[in-house]
């Protein structure tokens, strides 16, 4: 049987994929740290690309007792370092 997929995740699906509680995620969406499409939590949709960033934020918060804003900043910096390294590997 062939399986197709939806590139968007609901709040519940993202929570399960990233191992976070709905309250944790809701707080960070409302704080502008995680981007969601839609106005109400019930209709929020998340780009399936965001799972890695959410996991990273969770690890930085729990591992370092970091404030959510700092964890989001570090996760963004990790993404940027990874992006620059990919370019460096290609262009030297």
């Amino acid at each position: 049987m062939t399986q197709a997929f939806d590139p968007w995740l609901t709040l519940d699906e993202l929570c399960r994929a990233a191992g976070v509680a709905p309250e944790w995620l809701t707080e960070r969406v409302q704080g502008g740290l995680i981007e969601a499409q839609g106005k109400e939590a019930a209709t929020w949709r998340f780009d399936a690309l965001i799972v890695r960033r959410v996991r990273s934020m969770r690890e930085i918060e729990s591992g370092y007792g970091a404030a959510p804003e700092l964890a989001a900043l570090v996760a963004d910096l990790e993404d940027e370092v990874a992006r620059l390294r990919r370019r460096l590997a290609l262009f030297g």
């Binding site: 062939t2 399986q3 590139p7 995740l9 890695r52 996991r55 690890e59 370092v81």
Partner: protein, 345 residues
Amino acid sequence: VDFKDYYGVLGLPREASAEEVKKAYRKLARKYHPDVSKERDAAARMAEVNEAHAVLGDAERRAAYDAVGQRWQQGGAPPPDWDAGFEFQGRGDAHGGFGGFESHGEYSDFFEQLFGRTGAWRQHGRTSRGAAHGGAGPGHAARGADHHAKIVLDLEQALAGSLTEISLRVPQRDATGHPTLAERRLEVRIPAGVRPGQMIRLAGQGEAGIGGAAAGDLFLEVHIRPHPRFAIDGTDLVAELPVAPWEAALGGVVPVVMPDGKELKVRVPAGAQSGRVLSVRGKGLPGAAAGVAPGDLQLKVRVVLPSGLDPRARKLYEAMAEQLDDFDARKVARAEAERGEGGER
């Protein structure tokens, strides 16, 4: 399966407090974070540190690990039922870890045997699902656990989409109730435009539900194999564009062979220097969903000089040296840098 000494990894005694575990983890994470560490095996050490912290930093997992470790070390070898009494469950929270960007879900066999691929566990009798193996009560229903796995695609598959058969190791229990890993094949339609790190959720492809409840989902994390000429940057496709000196100086139309083998004609403007980035709109990754714009193709110009060992080229270089004797490459480059024209544009 080799026993993992997580206390040894973090350099801690077995009686270390939760605070000491946290401190040791932070110290080692800073030492081995692959983005900052100078150690050659930093990524592997960071993965070990993350795994140790995922166990010792979680009170429930630590208790399970301590129980197993005590029996293992007393006998000097794994007891026959060392991993019995634990049940797999999709909690999804053991993937990754700080600095473990490239090792999401890459935990040791020891960890996976004890805690499952998703790193979550429950002891029999502690939860309603634990009761399922001892005989669930009538009317009991529970949604199946989610499963997590990695799928590795070629760049061509990500660009064009594909129908891919994947093979998964799925945790199951054998006749004696011990967890084992069984192979399962699944055909997945990969849409064009899928990107590295994207999570593909296959509804109902996780663990079967109990008592008529829904099955869990299967989450596949997309990885793209490195391509020798192209890289993905967001939705853009990035590559180098080698050009001859006269193509760069005079401008012209040059061919670019795309990953699918098709040729794209690209106009190089006159005076293009090495490092200049040319964008071709809409020729990057296709939009993965309706309404998502495709990315661009970004080509970084690299002027490739004919070898001075070739007598024809040598003659031309000598003529240029003679006739362009007021050309100072250092001066030109300095002026460009001052105007902010150096490097990528």
